[in-house]
Amino acid sequence: MIIRRISHYLCNYENIVPLFAGACALLFVAAILLLPITYHEHPLYPKTIDRNSTLDPYDRGGPPFSQVVIGVQYPENSPTAGLVTTYLTPFSLFLADRTQHLGTTIVAHPGGIIDEILYNTRGLDTVVEPTILLIAFAIASFLYRKVK
């Protein structure tokens, strides 16, 4: 009897959004009540923020054209990890010497600072993320053209 009622409620698809929102809200409340969650002592990709660095917050250290040690899960799978981070094009180096805000322009200058973790050791994620964006734009553009 109760199952019949539940399925009758669920068969109206407009009830599903509030139901899901309610479930999420309950879970978030539970998550807050279960705090604190202890941090692991050795974080996966350790990083220190140096506010005085011109490459802040993407500075992972090391002089240009050298290989710095980067904390990764499987170092044997990423033998070149640490080289890309230290690489700056001459133009980027010129900018880095003169402005405090180069680190905020991570995507604006090719050959500039590339976050090693994003583009090398976790490259598959970086491929999937733009794919999701591509799919979303494809849907949006299809619908837009259909409406027109």
Partner: protein, 218 residues
């Protein structure tokens, strides 16, 4: 590792992200692969409406550009499902799951029926909001265990994963795949074009089967 999905036959390394093939994941992977090939090869079914009490019947026409778009979305959905089946990384899994959710919306968004579009819209809202617990769960996994690799989690040397992270992951997958809420999907299935709409159902079933394995790790 051997107790959950079996011993991996093969591990493919993408830096820190390992893709592994165990008997469990390879079965799900092959299922998604076969269905994707079927979607590529098959032509959409054409629904027939029969008027009761008479001999009249009509066949619904599917326009070519609509069919092409839905096939593209179905193939993308199949690829995302395949990725979610074999990935050995929690964050990568959540990304593929989010992609399955958005392609499911895309498969039915091209249909002209307002009823189907309304159901797809409601489903899209759920899929959108489900990304918060989904990626939140991945963040809690990384923060509390110090690793995102499922192989490391399965070894048992890391601290236990908080139960709330697992709960968030499951509700995120439920939202993306709509697994227990098939009412909205049933409305979406009124859309003509059989192999494509079945892809919605199959992909959500597959990601749900995979998340069962994921929450049992660590």
């Amino acid at each position: 590792m051997s107790s959950i999905g079996g011993v991996p036959f093969y591990i493919l390394e993408f830096g820190d992200e390992l893709v592994y093939f165990t008997p469990y994941t390879i079965t799900l992977f092959l299922l998604a692969l076969v269905f994707t090939v079927l979607v590529i090869l098959s032509r959409p079914e054409r629904q027939v409406d029969i008027a009761f009490g008479g001999d009249a019947y009509t066949t619904k026409q599917i326009l070519k550009d609509e069919m092409r778009f839905r096939r593209f979305m179905s193939i993308a959905c199949g690829l995302a499902s395949m990725g979610a089946m074999v990935t050995g990384d929690i964050f990568n899994f959540t990304l593929f799951t989010a992609m399955v959710g958005i392609t499911n919306v895309g498969i039915v968004a091209a249909v002209k029926s307002p009823h189907v579009q309304n159901a797809a819209y409601q489903y899209g809202l759920v899929a959108l909001s489900a990304t918060v617990p989904l990626f939140g769960a991945a963040a809690v996994y990384a923060a509390s265990t110090g690793s995102l690799s499922m192989i490391e989690l399965a070894r048992g040397t890391l601290p236990a994963v908080p139960i709330i992270a697992k709960a968030l992951l499951v509700i995120g997958v439920v939202g993306e795949g709509m697994a227990p809420f098939y009412a909205a999907k049933a409305e979406m299935f009124r859309a003509p074009g059989a192999p494509y709409v079945i892809m919605c159902s199959l992909s959500s079933l597959l990601i749900f089967l995979r998340v069962v394995e994921v929450v049992m790790l660590g």
